[in-house]
């Protein structure tokens, strides 16, 4: 009889080939020059190049803005969807989730087409619009999920203790739904830092994001510098996600 742990072998192989090896390659390339010599030049180049640094800062800024807009628009949407008095049909939930089934690239192209038809100037406004449009379902869905699963007796208990509906919302519903908000943030913030298609199509490459310069470097065969940039991004994403996880366990802190 084969030991049951062997069943995981195919997955293990998959992980090694498609996740671990590429990651190792990124690290390897990031610390090499064009001739295969070990060097820190790629990393120092990034930290001394003001263009790269400002692109990076802009990317983070755009990602933060996108995430905030997604929370501000997505939370009320999720709340309305989860409220049985306001929304009685699953169809409306479907309508919000459906865009996720369509390829993001296609939606972005269509949005760009729409903007040019309407004669809008492509810039930061259109970029943010495209990002929010692409990522808001990823914010709505986890929040909607936590709100749906939330035991109604918490809200009732608060009301019973003298809280007006408004107070119930701020003192009970919001703090208890923070885990949903946090996973929404992770799902929106991380991908926006590395996105490049949206900025390419919706700003005509007028605004370059961090993802754009990685893609440009790789495309023009500057593998080592591209890998270094990717490595830096991964590193920062890794740190933020750790930070995010901490937040999730501290969700009872009651801050937003």
């Amino acid at each position: 009889m084969i030991k049951r742990s062997y069943w995981s072998l195919p997955y293990l192989i998959f992980m090694v080939v498609f996740v671990v090896l590429p990651l190792l390659l990124i690290v390897l390339y990031a610390f090499q020059d064009g001739h295969g010599h070990l060097t820190f030049a790629n990393i120092t180049r990034f930290f001394t190049d003001s263009d790269s640094l400002s692109t990076f800062a802009l990317s983070i800024e755009v990602a933060i803005e996108n995430t905030l807009i997604c929370i501000l628009l997505g939370y009320p949407a999720a709340w309305i969807l989860s409220n049985r008095k306001l929304n009685r049909s699953a169809v409306t939930v479907m309508l919000f989730i459906m865009p996720m089934w369509i390829n993001a690239l296609m939606r972005t192209l269509a949005t760009a087409e729409l903007f040019s038809m309407l004669g809008f100037t492509l810039g930061k406004g259109t970029l943010l619009f495209g990002m929010v449009y692409d990522y808001i379902p990823f914010m709505i869905y986890p929040i909607y999920n936590t709100l749906m699963k939330m035991d109604n007796s918490y809200a009732e208990a608060a009301e019973d203790l003298g809280a007006t509906p408004w107070k119930v919302f701020w003192k009970v519903t919001v703090p208890l739904s923070l885990p949903g908000v946090m996973s929404g943030v992770l799902m929106v913030f991380m991908p926006t830092v590395s996105t490049f298609a949206i900025s390419e199509f919706l700003t005509n490459n007028k605004i370059k994001l961090f993802g754009t310069i990685i893609q440009e470097n790789i495309n023009s065969s500057m593998w080592n510098y591209g890998a270094a940039l990717a490595f830096i991004m991964l590193f920062i994403i890794g740190i933020t996600s750790l930070f995010g996880e901490n937040k999730e366990t501290q969700a009872e802190g009651g801050l937003i």
Binding site: S153, E156, A157, E159, L161, G162, K171, E252, G254
Partner: protein, 461 residues
């Protein structure tokens, strides 16, 4: 007089779709009383409690709190607090903040909040737990915090929705004693909801027995136990044997084939009644001297304090008896019941009365089907008549499709030598059936009525 009542409930009704959850509920609650709403699941007790708390609006009727109608007032403005069934402690707050929740909403000074919360923690023996997260507490501790969180606001009435249901037996017994102690110390009116009759008997000053949305009986625990008003209450509260009997005259009743002296009066002569005999009220002895009737022991089980025996009486009735002494199965025993231990109750009905429509000289339509029967000469086609069917005129069949009607066993009562069943038909009608066969609650049955058992009466007779 109404000033003594802290809560007065008048003609309260509530339906969900076609189901009447509460049907014209009327009762009052005295200030400082420990009152229990008792009934099986689905009897409407929780709906009633939630209406008092303000989470459900009644369809009809009103709830007066100290003489003022509170029906339109939202829960957060009612001076009542609830201990929820699963406690509903806020997981994002620690024990202190949970208890302080209501006080902080009232914007009381921090100093006062601290004093009151600490006092309350002491009351529920949870001092030193204030910084603990609620997830780290045991069920019993969560229970205490929930009680403290409700009581710290000094509500006029404390509502408790099956608060001990989630605890194990030992813990439940301890908490019962503590609840009683807290009630005594605080002097606040408690409204307690439970399906556990023992808990209700232990805790309450007054018990309101509910079944199918109606009040069955209101009284003190002793009243309800010793003098149940109908067979539902007798069956639901404590162990009992319920038997068919006949009130021969005042203070003389016949059941199990024998005549007994009793203390009940005013039933009339030769009136069918239900008789309740509690198992601890039957005297059992080895000899026949002084016995009223005899029986043979069928089974004997040790229950801790007493032995529980089933005895077949000389006339073939089964009687449950509890005694400190064991009697061997198979032995013949003498039995005696004292007059004051016999509880006689009015029968709610002695026959099924069903509205029917005459189709022709040999057929009527009733309960949504067509039946053959003898139609009186003076009834014309299309007339509405009353059909009377005795309890034993209805046959129950194993398969729903074999009967003319389909239904399910809704309630059953053992009457010593037969079962008395309440059948709910698929059309929502109720039929009462006597049978020797054993059915369980919820069994799906086919229903047939023997045509010779259907007796028609004109409506104005």
């Amino acid at each position: 007089m109404a000033k003594d009542y802290i809560i007065d409930i008048q003609h309260l009704s509530k339906s969900y779709g076609d189901v009447k959850v509460l049907d014209d509920i009327n009762f009052y609650i005295r200030r400082g009383e420990f009152i229990t709403l008792l009934g099986p699941s689905g009897c409407g007790k929780t709906t009633l409690l939630r209406q008092i708390a303000g989470f459900i609006a009644p369809d009809e009727g009103r709830i007066l709190l100290e003489g003022k109608d509170i029906s339109g007032i939202p829960p957060y403005k009612r001076p009542l607090n609830t201990v929820f069934q699963r406690y509903a402690l806020f997981p994002h707050l620690d024990v202190f903040d949970n208890i302080a929740f209501g006080l902080k909403l009232q914007k009381l000074p921090a100093k006062e909040i601290e004093v009151r919360v600490k006092k309350m923690l002491k009351m529920v023996s949870m001092t030193d737990y204030e910084d603990r997260s609620v997830d780290s507490l045991s069920g019993g501790q969560q229970q205490r915090v929930a009680i403290a969180r409700a009581l710290v606001n000094y509500p006029k009435v404390l509502l408790l929705d099956e608060p001990l249901a989630a605890l194990d037996l030992k813990m439940r017994k301890d908490m019962q004693m503590e609840l009683k102690e807290i009630h005594r110390k605080m002097g606040i009116t408690f409204i307690y909801v439970t399906h556990d009759q023992e808990e209700a008997l232990t805790l309450s000053d007054t018990i309101v027995v509910l079944n199918e949305g109606r009040i069955q009986q209101i009284g003190t625990p002793t009243d309800i136990y010793n003098e149940p008003v109908n067979s539902f209450v007798a069956d639901f509260i404590g162990e009992s044997t319920i038997l068919n009997g006949t009130m021969i005259r005042d203070r003389r009743v016949e059941f199990m084939g024998h005549e007994f002296d009793c203390v009940d009066e005013g039933f009339g002569e030769n009136v069918p009644v239900d008789v309740v005999v509690r198992p601890e009220d039957v005297y059992i002895m080895n000899h026949q001297e002084g016995a009223q009737f005899s029986g043979v022991v069928q089974s004997c089980i040790f229950k801790g304090v007493h032995y529980e025996m089933f005895v077949e009486t000389d006339k073939g009735y089964e009687l449950m008896i509890q005694d400190y002494n064991a009697f061997e199965p198979g032995s013949t025993v003498g039995l005696l019941i004292r007059p004051s231990d016999i509880q006689v109750m009015h029968k709610e009905r002695t026959i099924n009365t069903i509205e029917a429509e005459v189709l022709d000289s040999h057929h009527v339509s009733m309960l949504g089907a067509e039946w053959e029967c003898e139609v009186p000469d003076d009834a014309a086609t299309g007339d509405t008549v009353i059909a009377e069917v005795p309890f034993d005129g209805i046959e129950l069949l194993d398969h729903q499709e074999d009967g003319k009607l389909a239904g399910e066993v809704h309630f059953l009562l053992y009457k010593g030598d037969h079962y008395h069943l309440t059948i709910l038909t698929d059309n929502g009608d109720r039929l009462w059936v006597d049978t020797d066969d054993i059915w369980d609650k919820g069994d799906l049955v086919g229903i047939d009525i023997r045509s010779e058992a259907i007796k028609l009466k004109l409506k104005n007779d």
